[in-house]
């Protein structure tokens, strides 16, 4: 897995963005940018330099699930792997996210090991 990929972390809580960013840095990914909801994330994605999207679900403006749908709808963005990191834990919601084309789903609170495992898995699949 290339470590210089550009990762966009979307969460309305600055604390959570920082935690994820730090964990990604520990995993060797230092090219990380942030957005605080789907609305601000989408234009960043459309600029075309993001390789991997990590997003929360519950956010004002545009939610993570709507952002995921927008990404899958846009032919230029559709191939970007998306990891959802969210407190939403209803089976119904996880199924909705899976059907919308999420690549990985982590429920908060999570551990550093789980984040690493899911990211590894996503890239194993993409590269394998």
């Amino acid at each position: 897995m290339r470590k210089d990929i550009r990762i966009l972390v979307v969460d309305d809580f600055s604390t959570m963005r920082r935690i994820i960013k730090n964990l990604l840095r520990d995993l060797g990914f230092s090219n990380v940018i942030e957005a605080d909801d789907g609305k601000t994330a989408l234009p960043i994605l459309k600029q075309g330099s993001v390789d991997f999207l990590v997003t929360d679900w519950n956010m004002p403006g545009m939610t993570g699930i709507d952002l995921l749908k927008e990404v899958r709808k846009d032919p230029n963005l559709a191939a970007i792997p998306v990891l959802m990191v969210t407190a939403e834990a209803k089976r119904e919601q996880i199924i909705v996210a899976a059907q919308a084309g999420v690549n990985g789903y982590i429920v908060k609170p999570f551990t550093a090991a789980v984040l690493k495992e899911k990211i590894d898995k996503i890239f194993e699949r993409l590269e394998g």
Binding site: T15, I65, K90, R91, A98
Partner: protein, 235 residues
């Protein structure tokens, strides 16, 4: 807080009902059906009027209770409009979010600095043999502290939901008071805010952290549950 006379309308309603009922029996005995029907509809109106009056009293009581709560917590008289206690409660909750956010960032700053110190230490050549595994352990603990700050996100989401609930309750209460004012001419209660209707449940609507994660099979209890569900979907 002014005394509430909630008992009174019920008593007068009873007297009214009794009178009307007796009159009804009388006219029925006389075979005067049209008067009987008129009396029945009067009875119904009396019931409605009493109900609305009761709602008016209760609403007014609630409003007075909230106003006196505002006075207790020191909201100036001039600002005691628009159910200020509710606004104040929301503001306090918002402040809790700010405080925990600040505290979490402070902790994260310290974790960052500690990790940097750890890196400096780990780079040294003259470390005793037992140092590297312990440094690694400290790094692991610091990472857990880092991840642990995620509490701020979880509690913040829960608090925001309570704030939403407060807003909804406030709006409904304002509606109720407007209705009561119309029905019962409660002129002393004057609130202008119009309510926004609460939206219907939607499976895509974010629910926030689950407060009772053991709530049956509808909620994934942990990451393993999520993984099982996803693998059953072919992930």
């Amino acid at each position: 807080m002014p005394g509430l006379k909630t008992g009174q309308p019920t008593e007068s309603l009873e007297a009214l009902l009794q009178g009307k009922a007796q009159a009804l029996v009388k006219v029925l005995e006389q075979g005067d059906l049209s008067t009987a029907m008129a009396l029945i509809s009067e009875l119904q109106e009396a019931r409605h009027a009493a109900f609305y009056r009761e709602v008016g009293y209760l609403t007014r009581g609630l409003h007075e209770a909230i106003k006196s709560f505002s006075a207790d917590i020191g909201v100036p008289e001039a600002q005691r409009c628009q159910l200020p206690a509710m606004n104040d409660a929301s503001e306090r909750l918002d402040y809790v979010i700010q405080l925990t956010e600040q505290a979490a960032h402070d902790t994260l700053d310290r974790v960052d600095r500690s990790l940097a110190l750890l890196d400096q230490l780990a780079a040294r050549q003259d470390l005793p043999a037992e140092a590297p595994p312990k440094l690694k352990q400290v790094r692991g603990e610091l990472t857990e502290i880092l991840v642990g700050q995620g509490f701020q996100d979880i509690t913040g989401q829960l608090i925001r939901r309570v704030m939403q609930l407060l807003t909804q309750v406030e709006n409904q209460l304002v509606n109720l008071m407007e209705m009561a004012a119309k029905v019962d001419r409660l002129n002393s209660v004057q609130l202008e805010e119009v309510c926004s209707v609460a939206s219907a449940p939607d499976p895509e609507r974010a629910e926030g952290p689950q407060v009772r994660p053991a709530d049956g099979a509808a909620v994934a209890r942990n990451q393993d549950d999520v993984d099982d569900l996803l693998s059953s979907l072919g992930f």
